[in-house]
């Protein structure tokens, strides 16, 4: 019998590597870089579950990120409740938002570009609402009062916070790896490849898509809460901004659509490159994003499996050859 833990080895390896970072890194710049990158990668895990495994490309994952961040901020500031339950509430609200948007969009049969556009529109509606509503602080945003302490999810040193981010990242990596091997994962990938064929094999396409978008919303919302706890400030253009919708999609695609490690690899690669570009060109506003956009075009054109796919192909050229077609006929 094959060891059932073997598929988790890459996740564990990456987890150990990431766990060492807060212990070894001392520079605040490096710690900050890693914390922000991992928060984005976590949000991208959520996107990848729905977009990479399920083939439903969302252009509005900011909706979930923002709902997570704002729910927790409201929970703490308007209800005076604690940050840890705020993390749970934010995550749960992300799931609920996912289920609601998913129910509306998937039941209406929206797919492909239409689904992408409708998610974008939802994110924009949330942005406008958060920007003009009183409970969210309007255009001024929400500033969490400074209350350092583990109980409030606020840490005086970046390394401790990074440790929390790493822990959640590894937890979600493990979860996604588990999903990949599960019945739900198989059905999700099947409907990505061909919905009709999946239905014929007994896959309840609507139910599976809903499960995926609910989980996806929850994961991305968790990242939103972490963002809030890290910067202690959000406003509508940050929490529901297109930047996060674009970055999560980029990280997942550049890293490798529908792979477990893709979002983390992609986020690290993109943000690393962004820093390099900034170092080379100076602080020209937007120049790193311009490079991201170009990379998206290049990735779609030349890197269908993303960086993870590239690494796999280089690592196992023999397996690929084994899979050549049997006869000469196509």
């Amino acid at each position: 019998m094959r060891s059932s833990l073997r598929p988790y080895l890459p996740v564990l390896a990456l987890g150990v590597l990431l766990a060492l970072a807060p212990l070894l890194l001392t520079s605040n710049v490096a710690l900050n870089f890693l914390a922000v990158t991992l928060i984005v990668s976590l949000a991208a895990q959520g996107w990848n579950l729905l977009g990479g495994f399920g083939g439903q490309f969302s252009f509005g994952h900011a909706a979930f990120f923002g709902v997570g961040a704002y729910s927790s901020a409201i929970w703490q500031m308007r209800f005076g409740l604690d940050a840890w339950t705020g993390l749970l509430v934010g995550t749960a609200m992300g799931a609920v938002t996912g289920l609601v948007i998913g129910f509306l969009a998937f039941r209406a049969g929206l797919r492909g570009s239409y689904f992408a556009l409708v998610t974008l529109a939802f994110a924009e509606v949330f942005r406008v609402l958060a920007n003009s509503s009183e409970v969210t602080g309007g255009a001024a945003g929400m500033l969490l009062p400074l209350k350092i302490g583990a109980g409030n999810l606020q840490f005086s040193d970046r390394a401790t916070f990074l440790g929390l981010v790493v822990a959640l990242t590894v937890l979600v990596l493990g979860l996604v790896q588990w999903i990949r091997g599960s019945r739900f994962g198989a059905q999700l990938v099947a409907l990505r490849e061909n919905e009709e064929a999946a239905r014929a094999l007994g896959v309840d396409v609507l139910a599976v898509k809903l499960k995926a978008i609910g989980l996806s919303g929850a994961i991305t919302a968790t990242a939103g809460v972490l963002y809030l706890q890290y910067f202690l400030f959000i406003d509508a253009n940050i929490a529901f901004g297109t930047w996060i919708s674009v970055e999560v999609l980029l990280a997942a695609i550049v890293g490798g659509l529908g792979t477990v490690l893709g979002p983390v690899v992609g986020a690290l690669a993109l943000h690393g490159l962004g820093e390099l570009v900034k170092a080379a060109v100076g602080q020209l506003p937007g120049i790193d994003l311009a490079v991201y956009g170009a990379i998206l075009v290049v990735a779609v054109a030349f890197l269908p499996g993303g960086l993870v796919g590239l690494a796999r192909r280089r690592a196992a050229p023999r397996q690929v050859r084994k899979a050549e077609p049997e006869g000469g006929r196509a």
Partner: protein, 290 residues
């Protein structure tokens, strides 16, 4: 509550703006109708065109309306090149890929504009920017009236071009039956690029018509792209008449919801229409059967 005059005036101004929106949407729906792709970079290209108008005005001193023929040609060439050299080859003919490639392009354009011009919001002032026509009790911005007239004229010209010229006929043939058209010796890749070029030329005209009254900043494209998508979806993807009517409706809705809900919350009206149309009637009001 507002008096009837104020409401009617806002409605007319909304319809005038809507005509220019319709021109923006026309480019989008044309590309969709022929290539069956959603060009997400449409808004960013519009922003680029608006900055081009602004820059030319500042450097050469050319009036925005005088710039129309030049910018049209330049943007046609730009669109032709983009489709032929970037979008076509990079997306391997898959829908999701096209959406991603054009998203990538929009990010590149938007942020290059940001790097080049900074994030400031700019506007271009002409003699007629703040002038008004008095029509009975109503005050109508001159630039809006000119803009709407220009947009309708452009749409009419495009209509003539598509129905009368040989290229227009080839475009319609490809839109209807791609394989059949290619069997008759029509160069589909060329027709695609021409169509994309026409879509961009519409943007160039729209930019010239918008600038005398509307401000511009590098991020403005994302606002216009959603408005344009809403119009296109409402009017029916690929329908030219639908885009024109949809544009007018959206212009009116925007103006009305702005009047009643205020500037910032007013945008919601458009998004809500967008979402409801997609959820309830994705073929739009005038769309061909899916």
């Amino acid at each position: 509550m507002y008096s009837a005059d104020i409401i009617i005036e806002a409605l007319i101004n909304g319809l005038l703006t809507g005509a220019i929106y319709a021109l923006v949407a026309l480019g989008l729906t044309l590309v969709y109708g022929v290539l069956h792709i959603i060009n997400f970079a449409h808004g960013a290209l519009l922003a680029a065109a608006m900055f081009a108008v602004l820059l030319t005005n500042q450097v050469v001193g050319l009036d925005p309306y005088v710039q129309i023929p030049f910018l049209m040609v330049i943007f046609f060439a730009l669109g032709y090149g983009l489709q032929r050299l970037v979008i076509g080859p990079a997306s391997h003919g898959r829908d999701e890929n096209i959406l991603l490639v054009t998203l990538g392009l929009s990010i590149v354009i938007e942020n290059l504009l940001l790097a080049g011009f900074g994030s400031d919001t700019r506007s271009l002032n002409t003699d007629y920017s703040f002038a008004v026509f008095e029509v009975g009790p109503y005050l109508l911005g001159q630039a809006r009236v000119f803009g709407a007239g220009g947009a309708l004229a452009t749409a009419a010209l495009l209509w003539l071009f598509l129905s009368r010229s040989d290229t227009g006929k080839a475009i319609r043939a490809v839109a209807k039956e791609k394989i059949g058209a290619s069997l008759q010796g029509i160069d589909v890749a060329h027709v695609y690029a021409v169509t994309f070029g026409l879509g961009c030329a519409c943007l160039a005209v729209a930019a010239c018509l918008l600038l005398p009254t509307f401000y511009v900043n590098p991020k403005i494209g994302s606002a216009y792209v959603l408005v344009a998508f809403t119009i296109v979806v409402l009017g029916g993807m690929g329908s030219i008449v639908g885009a024109m009517l949809g544009g007018l409706i959206i212009g009116a809705v925007e103006s009305m919801s702005g009047l009643f809900l205020g500037e910032s919350l007013g945008q919601i009206g458009i998004f809500v229409i967008f979402i409801l149309t997609l959820l309830l009637k994705p073929t739009g009001l005038f769309g061909a059967k899916a």
